[in-house]
Symmetry: C2
Subunit: 122 residues, 2 copies
DNA sequence: CACCTGCATTGATACTCGTCAATATAGATG
DNA sequence: CATCTATATTGACGAGTATCAATGCAGGTG
């Protein structure tokens, strides 16, 4: 079912504690390298202009979902490129993919975006 | 005084409107490429494990500031590498540099981090 | 002024990543 | 099954970047 089950099982707890540390007060322990890597992996998925546009398009669309077939045109990119960015967002847990016939629809995972937001502070 | 005055003057307003668009509702207009580029530039500065560690160290330090000389050791990196990452954070407006004699002290710019946070949603 | 120390810059190297053409796969349809 | 459409994957190429050794520069000290 979920291809990244093992990956998520090992990285999610680390990510949670790491994000908690991101909101730390003076005197507390800073992020170690492993925790910083986990947070960076999440933020890297968002820190790309095309992927920010995709997230924005999904958020602005009625129904909160968008078909992959509607993306290459507004983004001005080839279909494989769009597919690549969608995969990055799905792998990061920020987007959810649902197949309907031959089409693939994508919707946001708000909790995941909230996690990324908390990684930047309080 | 400020080396990036022209850069900031042209990118800051765009960034502000772009970040506002990031919190948009269904039916509103999504980010265009230029706006997404501006937001991505800010987020890319944060989406790096070493720079996340630096931000974390500053946040956890008493007084909310840290000397550059204290960073290479905990980060396990050479001095030029640390200097590079500090420059990226300063250029992004996330860190402020203050020279004291031969030493360089760095402190967070909370409003800038808040801007990055808002770029990820509400 | 000569010297030392801390920070910044340069240049080189290896690696990551965004992009697209070509190809493969999945699902629908005749 | 043959075919068509939408999506995913592969391979290749170029641009960007993280890293460090070497060097330059600024500021303090003798």
């Amino acid at each position: 079912m979920c291809v990244n089950m093992d990956l998520m099982a090992t990285t999610l707890p680390l990510l949670d504690t790491a994000v908690a540390k991101c909101c730390a007060e003076p005197g507390s322990a800073p992020l170690d390298r492993d925790e910083a890597d986990a947070v960076a992996r999440l933020l890297k998925a968002v820190a790309d202009p095309v992927r920010l546009q995709i997230i924005s398009i999904v958020r602005c669309s009625e129904g909160g979902e968008v078909c992959a077939c509607d993306l290459p045109s507004p983004l001005g990119l080839a279909q494989p490129t769009v597919s690549h960015h969608l995969k990055v967002l799905v792998d990061a847990g920020l987007l959810e993919r649902e197949r309907r016939g031959q089409w693939a629809w994508f919707s946001l995972v708000p909790e995941r975006l909230e996690l990324a937001r908390r990684a930047l502070g309080t």
